[in-house]
């Protein structure tokens, strides 16, 4: 069964961290990704550019409306994701708990919907 792990963290807090601290977190992600690749849990995963680069669009009457910024203004912002293979929610929780940003931010776990024939 596949789960997506959505990583939410505060961009404001990231900006306040020292370079050494941010490097340590980056290294944490490298190690974590390598570990779950080796253990066979990793399906996909990417970090995202921060929300200042986000554009939200909506199609109304055939016209594409663009707005600057993320869909929702929140205290913590979506900063990346993993898709993992796990046998059940408890295993997905254990995987999510090891993500470096789980300490200061939070991880939303959602089952990936399986569509017949796809």
């Amino acid at each position: 069964m596949q789960y997506i792990l959505l990583i939410y963290a505060s961009e404001a807090m990231q900006a306040k961290r020292s370079e050494a601290e941010n490097n340590a977190i980056f290294d944490g992600y490298m190690t974590y990704t390598e570990e779950i690749r080796k253990s066979g849990h990793l399906v996909a995963g990417e970090p995202l550019e921060d929300t200042r680069s986000a554009t939200t669009i909506r199609v109304k009457d055939g016209k594409t409306l663009r707005t600057d910024g993320p869909f929702a203004e929140t205290r913590e912002q979506l900063g990346g994701f993993y898709i993992v293979e796990a046998k059940d929610l408890d295993e997905a929780v254990a995987l999510a708990a090891r993500i470096p940003d789980a300490k200061d931010g939070c991880i939303e776990i959602r089952p990936v919907m399986k569509i017949p024939g796809m």
Binding site: K87, D88, L89, D90, I109, P111, K114, P116, G117
Partner: protein, 412 residues
């Protein structure tokens, strides 16, 4: 016959359902359907054929056969389409699994699944009462004074989440067990507390809920005999339950601990509770439930409020506060200190809690009580009024009103 079947439903529901959920690959809704069919069959056949020699085993066997039928039918009609991988658990008919008797383990699996912290606390409580204790949606809705439709939705949503997010049907492994067990016991204690001091409504005590909580607590104690925390919680619940009859008078009004007729306390429950306090403290050192149970045991052993070992109770509260700094623990501690050192000493402790407990009626009630003892009449009246503004339970309201009337009637 109807009564016998209803009784069996209470007694066997949790165990048979726990078994069915396992063999049906964690499908709660299907397991409930099958169990309901088995009970329907009993209603149909027993009045004609008479009660079978082992009714519990009959129900289990009938449910088992119906479950096998369901799985066969499913396998026939729901063949995997295209590239969709079949869900191995619900589609595979493993005859072996059906004949394994794992009653105890199944019930533990059920408890830990219902109390998985990925479900909301309300859902955990409702699901536990519904599946393990066999309470109907209406019964649970009534117990928690919630609209039955909302309760039904809560249960459906919880079962759906278990299925869609695949919350596992298993007992957590050793590393996780203490934390998860703690979460389970919190649910049990919440059920008990709601029964013991109903937050709303006309009755102070909802015996149905305290009984169910003790039932689940005993089950966990039996299934995890090496864990001290379940023993401590069961002890605490038994010692509280022992005082039930004395806690209200013939009008259903609240009677405070110091005024209770101690001959009404249930000595049998007290003995069961005290034995468990001793076991729990010996086994696992100090847990929050263990210390609370030890405090309850000291009360239970005291012939009167005046002859209570308040010094020891004060010490126990100090220990408890090291583990649990909740304002409510401070509140109870203040009440004990007032008994040991006088009302002013208790009041000094209480004043510090105002920011945290200002919206809690029992805080004002406790303050009012100490002010009354300290002969600070007008302040006591104000505190009783503050409590009355916040109270939601009728017997407690009547108690507070009686105190106000007493104070107002006193000429000084």
């Amino acid at each position: 016959m109807r009564a016998t079947i209803a009784e069996l439903h209470r007694a066997e529901h949790g165990a048979i359902l726990a078994y069915l959920i396992r063999v049906l690959g964690g499908d709660f809704a299907l397991a409930e359907d099958v169990l309901q069919e088995a009970f329907a069959a009993a209603f149909e056949q027993w009045p004609v054929s008479g009660l079978p020699p082992a009714p519990g085993a009959w129900l289990r066997r009938t449910a088992r056969n119906k479950a096998i039928d369901r799985l066969r039918r499913r396998a026939r009609f729901e063949r995997p389409i295209g590239g969709l991988e079949p869900e191995p658990t619900t589609h595979q008919l493993e005859q072996d699994a059906f004949d394994q008797d794992e009653t105890g383990d199944d019930q533990l699996r059920l408890i830990f699944t219902c109390c998985n912290p990925a479900l909301s606390l309300e859902a955990q409580v409702a699901l536990t009462l519904h599946t393990l204790c066999g309470l109907t949606t209406d019964e649970i809705a009534r117990a928690f004074l919630i609209d039955p439709v909302a309760m039904a939705q809560r249960l459906v949503r919880a079962k759906n989440k278990i299925k869609v997010a695949r919350i596992p049907y298993r007992v957590p492994d050793r590393a996780e067990l203490p934390e998860r067990l703690h979460a389970v016991l919190a649910v049990v204690y919440l059920v008990f507390s709601e029964g013991y001091a109903a937050t709303r409504g006309d009755a102070l005590v909802r015996q149905d809920l305290t009984k169910q909580a003790i039932h689940i607590g005993s089950l966990i104690e039996r299934l995890l005999p090496e864990a001290s925390e379940p023993k401590a919680l069961l002890a605490l619940m038994l010692l509280h339950e022992a005082r039930r009859l004395a806690r209200t008078d013939e009008h259903g009004d609240l009677v405070l601990l110091e005024d209770q007729d101690r001959s009404l306390w249930d000595r049998e429950l007290i003995a069961l509770g005290i034995a468990r306090v001793k076991d729990a403290l010996r086994m696992g050192g100090a847990t929050s439930y263990g210390i609370q149970a030890a405090i309850a045991a000291l009360h239970a052993e005291a012939p009167s409020s005046a002859q209570t070992d308040w010094k020891q109770i004060d010490l126990l509260y100090h220990e408890l506060l090291k583990l649990d700094e909740a304002p409510i623990v401070h509140l109870n501690h203040a009440a004990a200190v007032a008994m040991l050192k006088g009302p002013e000493a208790g009041l000094a402790l209480l004043t510090r809690l105002t920011p945290e407990l200002g919206q809690y009626h029992l805080f004002h009630a406790a303050r009012a009580d100490l002010l009354r003892r300290a002969s600070r009449r007008s302040e006591a009246l104000a505190a009783y009024e503050a409590a009355l503004k916040l109270v939601q339970n009728e017997p407690e309201r009547r108690y507070l009103q009686r105190r106000v009337a007493e104070l107002q009637g006193r000429a000084d």
